[in-house]
């Protein structure tokens, strides 16, 4: 094990390296480029024994990793924003084909107008593609999540997206422990899938399926997601035994006696953790629930943790125009069947990479303290 200061993008590259990916296909987009630049070098100098297909688009990138995974190779790609949107069709296809592809996505706002800064709308708008989604809060988690993603994906035959904030993680150096290859090999065995393209056992995959059977195949995809809920926690514990770091579905902080709990994902959650500490020093009973895994959505965990709070704040750095915060809609959905559930205050902030500071988050708690009825949408900091 060694410790290095690396940017989040390189944490993805090291995650792929240590997972011994065999086929990479990628297309450049800011702010993802460093991921594949480093992987290109690793492939070129033989550090990583993989085929790198330098495709002409993200659509082809996803198609190529799909073909590779269907052929029995461990496959990786990374993209961002417009690139992810271009992949959309194939994202659905990879899930339907039940292929354990893992990709990194650097959250970046959609154009127009052009923006290269962070916002989660790109990945959250892929929520119905059937990909598992992990939102990391620091570079160590980025690296570890790639390894964990393959471990879980290859057991349930579902793809996983490891998601990180543009610049706040992608281009920010943090100290990261690089696990030893032997230990990763012990944790993550080689990819084995009996449902592959094999001339010795020929099958057709994905042929026309009539209404008599289509629904059953979709049911199985959903069941695999449900199975992952337990598996993610189980593998998180196995990972902790070997590497000393635990990752679960959610990451609660000072929630046990909290009257107001703020829900957030990604780096905004790290900022919120500090805000919670500062408010606790003032005697405020506040807590934080970071949702780490957005798909499968951990409904039970979210219900269990939030139902005892008096008020729930959801911080969304994303927007579904005409509806509101995407995380908030899931949280409200989770609480809908809880009797006397707490009111939910849905905040939209930080779009297009606008800063979300400790001060802003402390203000959220202070504002909500004074409100009784939940709010479907509150715009924080928008210049009107």
């Amino acid at each position: 094990m060694k410790r290095m200061a690396i940017v989040g993008n390189h944490a993805l590259s090291y995650g792929a390296l240590l997972s011994r990916v065999q086929v990479i296909a990628a297309y450049p987009i800011t702010p993802q480029t460093q991921v594949v630049e480093l992987l290109s070098e690793m492939c070129a100098d033989g550090t990583l024994k993989a085929e790198f297909v330098k495709v002409e688009s993200e659509h082809s990138a996803m198609a190529a990793v799909m073909g590779a995974s269907a052929s029995g190779a461990r496959a990786f790609t990374a993209t961002s924003s417009q690139g992810l949107a271009l992949m959309h069709e194939v994202l659905h296809w990879v899930t339907g084909a039940r292929l354990p592809v893992v990709m990194g996505n650097i959250n970046r706002a959609f154009g127009p107008p052009w923006s290269i800064w962070t916002e989660q709308t790109d990945s959250l708008s892929q929520r119905d593609t059937g990909w598992m989604q992990i939102y990391a809060q620091d570079n160590q988690e980025v690296l570890d999540s790639v390894i964990l993603a393959y471990k879980v994906s290859e057991q349930v035959l579902l793809p996983t997206m490891v998601v990180l904030d543009a610049f706040f993680l992608s281009h920010t150096s943090e100290p990261v422990e690089i696990p030893d290859q032997e230990k990763v090999d012990e944790f993550l065995p080689p990819y084995e899938n009996k449902y592959i393209l094999n001339p010795d056992d020929p099958h057709a995959f994905g042929g026309l399926t009539n209404p008599e059977w289509y629904m059953e195949l979709r049911y199985k995809i959903h069941k695999a997601h449900e199975q992952s809920l337990d598996l993610i926690e189980k593998e998180g514990k196995e990972f902790e035994k070997m590497f000393g770091r635990y990752y679960g579905l959610v990451d609660p902080y000072k929630v046990d006696d909290a009257e107001i709990i703020l829900v957030a994902i990604s780096t905004a959650a790290s900022t919120a953790r500090y805000a919670v500490d500062l408010l606790r020093e003032k005697g405020k009973k506040v807590g934080l629930l970071r949702i780490r895994v957005f798909r499968p959505f951990p409904y039970q965990k979210v219900k269990d943790i939030l139902s005892n709070a008096k008020k729930v704040i959801v911080l969304d750095r994303n927007l579904s125009p005409g509806a509101g915060g995407i995380v908030a809609s899931e949280v409200r959905g989770a609480l809908a069947n809880v009797k006397n559930h707490p009111p939910v205050f849905s905040y939209i902030m930080g779009l297009g990479g606008r800063d979300i500071t400790t001060k802003h988050i402390m203000e959220l708690f202070e504002e909500v303290e004074k409100m009784d009825e939940g709010k479907d949408i509150i715009w924080k900091g928008v210049k009107l």
């Binding site: 065999q22 296909a25 052929s71 995959f205 042929g207 026309l208």
Partner: protein, 300 residues
């Protein structure tokens, strides 16, 4: 007696769902005979998405991955990369697509794979329109042809896209045309292409009775006439510059012999036929000139 050059082995099974007289089904049967068992097919949306049979059946007899419309080349690129890293390079990685998935929506991915030199054999069974969706024009539809989106009063206004020229411009090691009427030629080309590394493409003209408005029993006759009239010459291009015409009729038959058999051309006027004849004559001369030119530059 002539020696039989088409392998006896059958890989494609009966029970497929092609229409009677389908050139595309016959093309697959012949291609698999040439390629053998160690083949992986990627098939995007096209007639073959249906022909192969519904889940859980398959008529191909070799592993087959159904892929999104525009991804025959890119999905195959991934299959090919996997075969390399897994040490299974004896497997033929084949993209099998229709003309819509190739000339139109798949063009970008094909250009990418061709330029990279991905180790893929791409076979386009060209039936000259979107037949699976009900006969809509593609950029492979010939000049003046009827389709449901180019009705009789407004038939296709532009000639067929030159896919071979486009691929030749990518300097890929091998591109060729073929058709189901010249089965020995097609099988020979598939076998030749299978032995070459890099990106290879074969365009196999595959008559479509419902789309061309022709009786199913004249599929082979039509495919032969396409060659004999010069409408669809059989030739190959190596490394983007060495042209070779494989079937060279002493005298081309008049195009009317090919056109008059097809309902999709029944609205043509005498002037239309003459215009098409002139285009075919010119294209044939150009092809002869390219062949001659590639001889001249051989020792450049």
């Amino acid at each position: 007696m002539r020696k039989l050059t088409i392998p006896r082995e059958e890989y494609m099974t009966p029970g497929h769902l092609a229409c009677q007289g389908c050139g595309g089904a016959l093309a697959m049967r012949l291609a698999l005979k040439a390629l053998g068992k160690k083949t992986i097919l990627t098939i995007p949306a096209c007639c073959w998405s249906v022909i192969d049979g519904p889940f859980p059946y398959s008529a191909a007899g070799v592993p087959l991955f159904h892929a999104p419309f525009e991804t025959a080349a890119s999905t195959s690129a991934g299959v090919s990369a996997a075969m390399k890293i897994l040490g299974k390079e004896d497997v033929h990685v084949v993209a099998w697509a229709g003309d819509g998935g190739t000339f139109d929506i798949g063009m970008q991915a094909i250009s990418g794979a061709a330029e990279r030199g991905d180790n893929i054999l791409y076979i386009v069974y060209d039936n000259e329109a979107y037949m699976n969706t009900g006969i809509q024009r593609s950029s492979a539809t010939p000049y003046k042809a009827w389709t449901t989106t180019t009705p009789y009063k407004f038939p296709k206004a532009r000639p067929k896209k030159d896919i071979i020229g486009i691929l030749a411009a990518h300097k890929v090691p091998y591109v060729a045309t073929a058709t189901v009427a010249y089965a020995e030629d097609f099988v020979k080309k598939v076998k030749k292409a299978a032995q070459i590394k890099g990106f290879r493409l074969i365009q196999v003209l595959s008559p479509c009775p419902p789309g061309w408005k022709t009786p199913p029993e004249i599929t082979i006759k039509l495919a032969r006439l396409a060659v004999q009239t010069g409408v669809f010459p059989l030739y190959e291009v190596e490394n983007g510059e060495k042209y070779k015409i494989n079937i060279k009729p002493k005298k081309l038959k008049p195009v009317i012999e090919y056109l008059k058999l097809q309902g999709r051309f029944r609205h043509l006027t005498q002037a239309d036929v003459e215009e098409i004849q002139a285009m075919v004559n010119r294209n044939w001369k150009l092809l002869l000139a390219k062949e001659e030119f590639s001889r001249q530059i051989e020792n450049l």
